[in-house]
Symmetry: C2
Subunit: 129 residues, 2 copies
DNA sequence: ACCTCATGTAATGAGTTCATTACATATTAG
DNA sequence: CTAATATGTAATGAACTCATTACATGAGGT
């Protein structure tokens, strides 16, 4: 099961048009090099490398270095996990209905399967004024 | 059609466990107040308000102020749009296959239907060294 | 060995996010 | 009117993102 932090990382990685474009390239040219990707963008090679790192840390890209060249591959697993989780959680929304939906909070499922802490129903603090 | 920037905003808004938890609450308690949401989290009311603003700017929440109370509602449209776009774009991935997929870059479709600029195949700059 | 190529690391700086406290506005109840 | 309630704004600061240039490493070709 995917931890909330991992989910944060995946959404964060996808929250950039540039990074989504990079993911498209890697998906369409499996095994392509860092330089090949960098050659398509109007930013420095280092900036591209950092974007690719973000994608790789989110698990959306897997890389494999042979000789002096790093080969990049897309990994569909995190996207599938998000899709699965969200289709179950927002199933009524996907189909466009919006009826009475059973509440299955991400936190509750994380509690059952993941051992992760919940943010919901936390101890309130109160304002000073 | 959804612009790349809007898509960035939606993913960015979802890239936070706290904000996803807030969206869950609003979905399950349609018309709830800002204070009702704030009462469930261990951060200041102002921090909660800003999170809700992020969600609202991404179009994931719609609000409606009656008297001194702002009522919050979830808007499923951006999630549906992302789902539709991604299931067509990554359709082979959703089903778990991963065969030869026709390349339909987000940028290309944005060009056709949206008038938005593409980042892909941009003019390269080259490093100084 | 020497040079080039492909990638990676370090230091830096502008801009954004995310949290805080203090104060302001506006609506309802008495 | 006065007071409590609900939300909103302003100013601030720590931490992170995103881009840069300069330099370092390590593999391959001649």
């Amino acid at each position: 099961m995917m931890s909330p932090d991992t989910m944060d990382a995946v959404f964060q990685a996808l929250a950039s048009t540039t990074r989504r474009a990079m993911l498209d390239i890697v998906r369409n040219e499996p095994g392509c090099s860092v330089g090949a990707v960098a050659g398509r963008f109007d930013v420095s090679r280092i900036a591209v490398m950092r974007h690719l790192s973000v994608l790789e840390e989110a698990g959306l890209i897997i890389s494999d270095k042979r000789g002096r060249t790093r080969h990049l591959y897309m990994n569909a697993v995190p996207i599938q996990m998000i899709h699965d989780r969200w289709t179950s959680e927002y199933s009524a929304l996907w189909s466009g209905r919006m009826l009475d939906i059973k509440y299955l909070a991400e936190q509750r499922r994380a509690q059952e399967g993941d051992g992760a802490e919940t943010d919901d129903i936390a101890h309130k603090k109160g304002e000073p004024g």
